[in-house]
């Protein structure tokens, strides 16, 4: 049954793809939701400006609400009035929105452009299609940076995430995110658990205790952050000697603000960010949203975004097109988290595992913090 219907749907879509989505009846205004700041600016320059140029008469309105997108979308859907057309969310949120039926399911091959090498979208994005509703855009990582000028004399430059747990060699404050995700994995890794066993160990009570015990050893020297901008600020002020945050934030501290900060790529945790389209949009708005997303996630556009911010394009076919920073003129490839030199030892955010354990571990983590 599935096969026949999807075949029918495929042909119907293939026929209409040229007509309905490209020309037809489309809304003239769309509301895009993103994270604000430099990231939204990069989307504005790489996707929205060229799109509006191609489609005079269309207006795009930004709403910088991505950090609360799931809650807000749920509230909108319950009120029966979804005002957003395209929403930028991290992959874990996309999975939850999909689970809750708040995001539309996407047929990636039909609705998205082919790669410029002719590959199907689903092959081009590959493993990054972590949810049926998710249209990946960038690969970013949560990674670490340190103040090279504040290292104690004679101490070697840290080359492992475990430097965070080594308060003897690197005394001083460090900043970590105020949530269990990533921290628990790093703690176990630095406690000697092999990378591939981390989640098996973390599933057990003993494993969780072990991770907390490891974190206990540095609890007094940690500043816990909740906003991505905290660590760059703390590093710039010299409040901490090392800290974790998103790699793009560290890039801007290092390259744009010329702070004496260096990257510590070891055990960076890859995560994805991309678009979702809210479920049950009216037809004209849906057509506009689809048209925009198809344009904004093609090979060239994804590569273009890397001109403005150091996040890796989600399409394999975009990687060779990544060029120089639009304002600084530096090569962007070496600053990408996915660059082979940076990605020697990495971890991929385990969405399914955290969907299960997040509530439980978060309660434990908060209780542990409050003690």
């Amino acid at each position: 049954m599935k096969l026949t219907t999807s075949l029918l749907a495929t042909t119907a879509l293939a026929v209409s793809a040229g007509g309905a989505f490209a020309g037809g009846h489309m809304a003239d205004e769309m509301t895009l939701v993103s994270w604000g700041g430099a990231y939204q600016e990069s989307q504005q320059r790489a996707y929205v400006e060229p799109y509006l140029e191609m489609n005079p008469g269309v207006t795009a309105v930004w709403d910088s609400s991505s950090n609360e997108a799931v809650a807000k979308l749920r509230a909108m859907a319950e009120a029966g009035n979804v005002t957003w057309d395209v929403v930028d969310v991290v992959a874990s949120d996309a999975i939850r929105l999909c689970d809750e039926g708040l995001a539309m399911e996407i047929d990636h091959d039909e609705m998205l452009a082919q790669g410029d090498d002719g590959s199907d979208a689903s092959d081009d994005f590959g493993d990054l299609l972590v949810s049926d509703c998710f249209i990946p855009q960038i690969v970013y990582s949560t990674t670490a940076g340190y103040r090279s000028d504040l290292l104690p004399e004679g101490a070697p430059k840290p080359d492992s995430i475990c430097a965070f747990f080594d308060t003897e060699t690197y005394p001083g404050q460090r900043s970590l995110e105020r949530r269990p995700i990533n921290n628990m994995e790093w703690a176990l890794y630095c406690d000697g658990v092999a990378k591939e066993d981390i989640y098996d160990v973390l599933e057990t009570e003993e494993g969780q205790d072990r991770a907390f015990a490891k974190l206990d050893t540095i609890k007094d020297s940690v500043v816990w952050w909740s906003a991505g901008a905290d660590t760059p600020q703390l590093l710039a002020d010299g409040e901490v000697i090392m800290g974790t945050t998103y790699n793009g934030r560290l890039f801007s501290v290092i390259e744009e603000q010329n702070q004496p900060v260096e990257m510590l790529w070891d055990m960076q945790v890859f995560d994805l960010d991309g678009w979702i389209i809210p479920a049950d949009l009216p037809e004209d708005r849906l057509a506009r949203a689809m048209d925009f997303v198809r344009f904004a996630t093609d090979t060239q556009r994804l590569a273009d975004q890397a001109k403005y911010i150091s996040y890796g394009p989600a399409r394999a076919s975009s990687a060779p097109l990544v060029g120089q920073h639009a304002d600084l003129g530096i090569e962007m490839a070496p600053h990408m988290p996915t660059d082979p030199a940076n990605a020697t030892n990495t971890l991929l955010y385990n969405y399914e595992w955290w969907a299960d354990y997040r509530d439980d571990l978060d309660a434990k983590f908060q209780a542990w913090l409050a003690q």
Partner: protein, 578 residues
């Protein structure tokens, strides 16, 4: 607000008093000019008056009801609401009722079979993952159990589907199915259709009253009850959610499974053999071949999809939380939990909420106290300076009031952090050793300092407006009678300013108790409030039930404190202005 003087002291009789006087009169009813008893006539006048007053405030009242009270009530209601389990898995919940959770045995295969059909429909409507998320709040791991099982249900149905389709290709035809199931000109099973519409409406939380172009045939419903039920559910979702034509869609795998079960059911045999409507030949052929149909062990099939179904703990959770209303969220918010064995305290390493409630109350009081200590002298100064100077100073008080909250909080970060301005100055003048800089932020100190600063105007303004109305002659009189400065202040001035302290304290305390942005930014781990967890559960974990329960408790705590305050200090002693 302070003195309860009725208007009659000033203006003479009011309708209220006139009624009382009329009551008091012993010598027969007093009559009005038109001959009706005065009491009734006055009552009528009063009622008209009251109606008019009510009409005047009606727009505002309605506005507040609709935009403020109703949404809050709706949100708080979620703290006990738990219909999702029963709405998503109605038959399972019913079948599970008989299972004794005290045993280590798994529920009977019937329960698993009910779960298959419930979950299949839920997965088609994409509601099963929501239920998984809901139950995952209570037991870690259920979320993925539901998600992965939802993907594997087709396989179980296909065990039957393949046999049917191998026997006769007609079973693959959507219109063949439709012709067999649809009532057409014959009698329709209206009750069944209505029941299924209600089930789908509960499942999807949307009414399912639209035209679906299908009505189950009463004949077929009596000989193939399970099949008709599933096909009807399929028809409703296909027509109203997918917006497809029922007659053009091949039914779900679950419909084949239901048909298989109907054919295997001995008690239905005679009915099927005697059937002569559309599809009779194919049905009877399938019945003759009934031995080729698989006998599916639903329990084994589910455990194969996900091991967790073999864990009685999962079923206990499902049974414990199958009621439409639950105390579970409220128990969670005071570090307890609902288990099959009754209410138990949560594991020690997950207890956090009582601690946070206590901390929120204590720190809010500390903030209120420091606001009084800092605000009182300022308000005193403002009230006693010449008006021109006072106005300039007043702007200084109000200026931070108009500055963004985030800016003010970030400014405190710059000042208080270890490499910050204050520490730098202290190190520079030699008060503090460079290696031992003071930790003044990312802890309770930081929260108290930053929030005292932010809430200070709410203390100063009511204090100032009350102090403005204290006649300077009082203090002068006290002094002329021989009081020292201190006695005059403490015995005369201060008691007069207490209503201002009362008003300021209530404002500051209630604002402080619900604050979360500032504690989030400067509170570190020990300076965060319960509102931070509420915000987290609203916008991050999406556990709105728990957030609502925490919010209800916070609201109740504030109301109780307010009531206590009224009993001790008296709300009449609160003044927001002259």
């Amino acid at each position: 607000m302070t003195d309860a003087t009725g208007p009659d002291q000033v203006t003479g009789a009011t309708p209220d008093n006139a009624i009382r006087n009329a009551d008091r009169a012993d010598n027969g009813p007093v009559l009005a000019a038109d001959g009706t008893p005065l009491k009734r006539s006055l009552n009528r006048a009063l009622r008209r008056e009251k109606t008019r007053a009510l009409l005047l405030i009606a727009p505002l009242l309605l506005f507040i009801l609709i935009t403020f009270i109703a949404p809050i009530a709706d949100m708080l209601f979620r703290s006990v609401e738990n219909a999702i389990v029963e709405d998503t898995l109605p038959a399972t919940v019913e079948a599970l009722d008989e299972w004794d959770s005290a045993t280590e045995e798994l529920p009977s295969p019937d329960v698993f079979r009910a779960l298959f059909f419930d979950l299949f429909v839920a997965a088609e409507a994409k509601e099963h993952t929501q239920l998984g998320t809901r139950l995952n709040y209570e037991q870690t791991g259920i979320s993925s159990t539901f998600r992965s099982t939802g993907r594997g249900l087709d396989d179980i149905g296909e065990l039957y589907q393949d046999v049917f389709e191998d026997q006769n290709e007609l079973w693959e035809e959507a219109d063949f199915w439709y012709a067999m199931m649809n009532a057409g000109d014959g009698a329709a099973a209206g009750d069944l259709l209505a029941a299924e519409r209600a089930r789908m409406a509960a499942l999807t939380d949307e009414p399912k009253d639209g035209e679906i172009g299908f009505a189950p045939s009463a004949t077929i419903a009596s000989i193939l009850p399970r099949t008709t039920r599933e096909y009807t559910a399929f028809a409703i979702l296909t027509a109203l959610v997918e917006e497809d034509v029922v007659a053009e869609e091949e039914p779900w795998e679950a419909v084949f499974a239901a048909l298989g079960l109907d054919l295997q059911d001995q008690s239905l045999r005679a009915g099927i053999e005697g059937y002569s409507g559309p599809g009779a030949a194919e049905l009877q052929a399938a019945l003759a071949n009934v031995d080729s149909l698989p006998v599916v062990d639903y329990r084994a099939a589910f455990i194969e999809e996900d091991d967790d179904w073999g864990d009685p703990e999962v079923w206990r959770t499902l049974q414990t939380y199958s009621d439409r209303y639950t105390m579970g969220y409220f128990l969670n918010s005071i570090d307890l939990q609902l288990t099959p064995d009754g209410i138990q305290s949560r594991p020690e390493d997950e207890q956090i909420y009582i601690l946070l409630f206590q901390r929120t109350l204590i720190m809010s009081m500390a903030i209120t106290l420091s606001c009084i200590l800092l605000g009182y002298p300022i308000a005193f100064l403002l009230a006693n300076l010449p008006l021109r100077t006072a106005n300039v100073l007043m702007i200084l008080v109000l200026l931070p009031f108009w500055t963004s909250l985030l800016v003010r909080t970030s400014a405190w970060k710059v000042l208080l952090q270890q490499q910050g301005v204050i520490n730098d100055i202290l190190v520079w003048i030699g008060l503090v050793d460079d290696a031992n800089r003071l930790v003044m932020i990312n802890n309770q100190t930081g929260t108290i300092i930053a929030m005292t600063h932010i809430l200070l105007p709410f203390m100063i303004l009511p204090l100032y407006s009350v102090m403005k109305t204290i006649p300077p002659a009082y203090v002068r009189a006290a002094k002329s009678l021989g009081a020292t400065d201190w006695t005059a202040f403490w015995r005369v001035y201060f008691p007069n300013s207490v209503p201002g302290i009362g008003a300021g304290s209530i404002l500051v305390f209630i604002l402080a108790i619900g604050y979360y942005i500032t504690p989030e930014l400067v509170g570190g781990t020990t300076g965060v409030f319960i509102s931070n967890r509420i915000a987290y559960h609203i916008s991050s974990s999406l556990n709105w039930g728990l957030a609502a329960a925490l919010g209800s408790i916070l609201l109740a705590a504030v109301l109780i404190l307010y009531w206590t305050y009224d009993r001790i200090v008296g709300i009449d002693n609160v003044k927001l202005g002259g």
